[in-house]
Subunit: 277 residues, 3 copies
Amino acid sequence: MYEQMWMNVSTKAPLVHNITNYVTVNDCANIILACGASPIMADDIREVEEITTICNSLVINIGTLNERTIESMVLAGKKANELSHPVILDPVGVGASKLRTDTATQLLKEIKFSVIRGNISEIKTLSKGTGNTKGVDADFTERLTDSNQQEVIAFAKDLSKRTGAVIVITGATDLVADENEAYLIRNGHPIMSKITGSGCMLTAVIGAVCAANPTNLLEAAVTGVTIMGISGELAYEKMIKDQAGTSSFKMYLIDAISIMDTEKLMSRAKINGNTLK
Amino acid sequence: MYEQMWMNVSTKAPLVHNITNYVTVNDCANIILACGASPIMADDIREVEEITTICNSLVINIGTLNERTIESMVLAGKKANELSHPVILDPVGVGASKLRTDTATQLLKEIKFSVIRGNISEIKTLSKGTGNTKGVDADFTERLTDSNQQEVIAFAKDLSKRTGAVIVITGATDLVADENEAYLIRNGHPIMSKITGSGCMLTAVIGAVCAANPTNLLEAAVTGVTIMGISGELAYEKMIKDQAGTSSFKMYLIDAISIMDTEKLMSRAKINGNTLK
Amino acid sequence: MYEQMWMNVSTKAPLVHNITNYVTVNDCANIILACGASPIMADDIREVEEITTICNSLVINIGTLNERTIESMVLAGKKANELSHPVILDPVGVGASKLRTDTATQLLKEIKFSVIRGNISEIKTLSKGTGNTKGVDADFTERLTDSNQQEVIAFAKDLSKRTGAVIVITGATDLVADENEAYLIRNGHPIMSKITGSGCMLTAVIGAVCAANPTNLLEAAVTGVTIMGISGELAYEKMIKDQAGTSSFKMYLIDAISIMDTEKLMSRAKINGNTLK
């Protein structure tokens, strides 16, 4: 199933509309292309509805919010909802400021999201309207561990039930859940937190996979998370072999997505879904 | 001639003013530097006229339009016209929204462009005020092929006559035309469409070559297109040799520009201009 | 001392708030991560005070100014002053337009900066309210040379006395001075001017080192400048060995920061501070 979902991206070559931050926007566009989809970055209030109409999914990322783009997010999100396009939210740094928390809350109220992806601090803040977000990184005391796993899964399922969205919580182990099922994915590498945009790029990848597989969003999200994790591993291996650093790692990560094949996907995926239903 | 025009860029080291999108802006700045010119990115209405005054050419790219930057484009364009600086337009995604089409139309009305570069869908939209733009990529049914070549050339020459601009239509084969002459350039590689910003970067390169060769814009545009195509070929060869992916390709592309020499240019250029006059 | 200051960055992992331009923002974020610190890019007026409060230093870069961000710079700067966080100014292209000169003047009036970094044209413009800035590059006639060294040092010490900030003037030789002491750093490579953002990235690195060493800003700035210069040398050596170009150089530069160790720092540093007191 995951192989098929991945192949669908390049076969269907969907368009992904992104309203995103100016820090990682280039990497997000390139990783969507590396998946085999096409990105459009457009945030002006006068065009976002038209742009989202010609696309197959919408990714909203609140990384560098401003008044102008918040309105655009709401408009585009409502239009995407109307057209039943998958809408993916990345609540970057929510909890770090009232603006971000208020905006995320407003977006959740006005838009029905298909997938929400963040680290555990961000997702907790979203859920509770409060949390301990240390900037854009996860709070260590809130990380998903073996001991709090069942608790975090229950939390994610509950949030999914309340929002209708697939919940993706990324960390050392990644969790993907809807209200009924949860998947733990144990791919990836800690060095991914040493470049900016690992999270944003994953959200963009999920946007691409969902655009190509709109009727199966839970597994589409699992596919995106797994592909990204495997690519992180491959990129890390290449970085070490080349005695390179983190900027090379970022390049190898996008490279790995662009040359990902189903054999690599199936041989390296560490998805423990079945045990968690 | 082309070698001389290329060498003029590093010899004269002109300044290129860019009002451009936030997606590919870093790559555009770096590729201008790789050419041997210097970029300035500035879009605030209160400084664009002054900035364009100290520069040698102006590149206007409508990739991520907003109200603030549209006014700046008009002001800067008029000032550049006044100073007889080459002004290059990249109508990214025109046709994908009314905002982009209206803006491009307005820019064409208020500014005299020296060169306009787009894919065939974008250029057709510009010409007709309507078209089938699928996002920021070209529409397949409109691509330049052997069978419609004479028709596309006639179209480009006519548009050049109406606008006074050199018209650059990029695709598998690239076309550069003014009202009298047309050049077909058969360099480049399809993988260039698998990174974001190939088009924007080419427009920036044209901006650099025109800044250094303001009295011969047709051949300056041909030089830019050819240099970019050859660099795409070299980058692709290196990517394959390294078993790398699309992010490496982007890096190798800018690398290739930065180490381009006249020997590579002359031995690899596939310019079939003479047969087309 | 320099080794200790460098190690403090990864040990303390401080947060660095950046209000910066959209051209080099991704590289600035990645180089801060490569140092072992964490970046937050946020410029909306409604959140900058909160964001700066949770951070350990603030970097203000005027590369792509607009009305919206200028107000945010002032607010964030005042808040950072209130909290005694180091505040670093990069007056990119000051002198190239009235907007930039006026803004820099206003920022200097309203905010107390800990460190100001620019090329000699920018720093002279800041100092005199006038200067010969050729876009964002330094004016050749104003470069620091052996013959004008004592004059430039006296100028920097005087400006430091007047502003209270450590002054960093970068060029072939870099100068770091407060009102009493001056350091000349002879690391780096001319190719650093062939990529966009060398200056912005250095300012970001200084922001990271100052955040981790807030009580010794002069030596923190020297550490940042030296680390960047050595990384430029290492990146250049690798570029030549790989027969690569300027885009590879940029990647190797950030790579070098991410794998910098105290042995490389101490064996390659060319800091001639003692002779200059």
